[in-house]
Amino acid sequence: MKNEKMISFEELEAGQQFKPHEFTMTKETIYKYAEAVSDQNPLYCDEESGKNSFYGSIIAPPTSAAIYIISAFQSEGKIPPGAAVHARQKFKFIRPVFPGDHLLTNVTVKNKFIKMERKYVFFEIKTVNQNNEPVVNSEITLFWTQ
C-alpha cells in the first residue's frame, strides 16, 4: 500500500466532512462478519431463531457497525493510517440493523491534536437507516501511525 492512498494528518481539519457513505446490509455480510469475530449468536446466524425473536428476523451484530464506519472513512478514496491504540472510542447502538437496511453514514472531523509527539484525530460518525432513523452514533479517536 502506497502512502498516497492514505489520508495525511495535515490534510484534515476540524469541521471537515467526508463524502456521505451509503451501504446496504445483507444476510451474507452479517454471516461473514459473525464468522470473522467467531460469534455464533443465533440471532445473527440462524434465520429460524431470528424469526422467533422479538425482532422477527436476524439482525446485524451491533459492532458490525465497523463495516459501514470503515467504508465511510474510505469514502474519499483514501484510508486513514490510524490505529485505535492510546485512544478512546464511544458507540451508541440506538436501533438494530436488519438485512436489507440501507444505511447512510456521515463522518465529521471534530478535532485533531498532537500529544506526547503523537498525532490524533477525533471523528464523529453518525449512521441513519432508510427511514432516516438514527442507528449508531460513534466517536472515534485514531492515533496516526504514519
Binding site: E35, P62, A83, A84, Q89, F93
Partner: protein
C-alpha cells in the same frame, strides 16, 4: 419487530459487583485477515507484515474493532435483547493485540438504575491478554426488564 416481548434480563436478578461470564478468544493472523475481509479494513498495519514491521508497532496488530466485538459478545450473551439497541459503550485502548495473543473479555456490574419502564445497567468492562495486561478498559451499558 413483532408482537413478541424482548428477551431481557430481570433487573432484580442483577446485583452490583456481579461478574459477567468471560469470553476468551485466541487471535491469529488468519483471524485478523478474515476480519479485514469481513470489515473491509485492509489497512496494511493489520494485514501486511512487511509494512507493519516498519511502523511504531513493529508488526501487524489486530483491528481495534475486533477486540470491541469480544466485549459486545459478552454483553449480548448476558443481557440478550437488552444489548442490541438502546445500549452503548465507551472504551479506551491501552495496548495493541498481536497475532498469537489470547484475549479475555470480562465485565462487572457497576451501577443499576430504573428509568421509565426499563432498568439501565452499566458494567465496567475490559479485555486483557495472556500476560494479564489491559488491552481495553471502559464501560458498557445495557437494558434490563424492571
Amino acid at each position: 419487530m413483532n408482537s413478541k416481548r424482548p428477551n431481557l434480563k430481570k433487573f432484580a436478578e442483577i446485583e452490583l459487583g456481579m461478574e459477567l461470564p468471560e469470553v476468551i478468544k485466541q487471535v491469529t493472523q488468519e483471524i485478523i485477515n478474515k476480519y479485514a475481509l469481513a470489515s473491509g479494513d485492509m489497512n496494511p498495519q493489520h494485514v501486511d507484515p512487511e509494512f507493519a514491521g516498519q511502523t511504531v508497532f513493529k508488526g501487524t496488530i489486530a483491528h481495534g474493532l475486533l477486540t470491541i466485538a469480544y466485549i459486545s459478545e459478552m454483553m449480548a450473551n448476558f443481557f440478550k435483547d437488552g444489548w442490541y439497541s438502546g445500549s452503548d459503550m465507551e472504551i479506551s485502548f491501552h495496548a495493541p493485540v498481536r497475532p498469537g495473543d489470547t484475549i479475555t473479555a470480562s465485565g462487572r456490574v457497576k451501577t443499576k438504575k430504573a428509568s421509565g419502564d426499563r432498568g439501565i445497567i452499566t458494567c465496567k468492562v475490559a479485555c486483557t491478554n495472556q500476560d494479564n495486561a489491559n488491552i481495553i478498559t471502559g464501560t458498557a451499558t445495557a437494558l434490563a426488564e424492571l
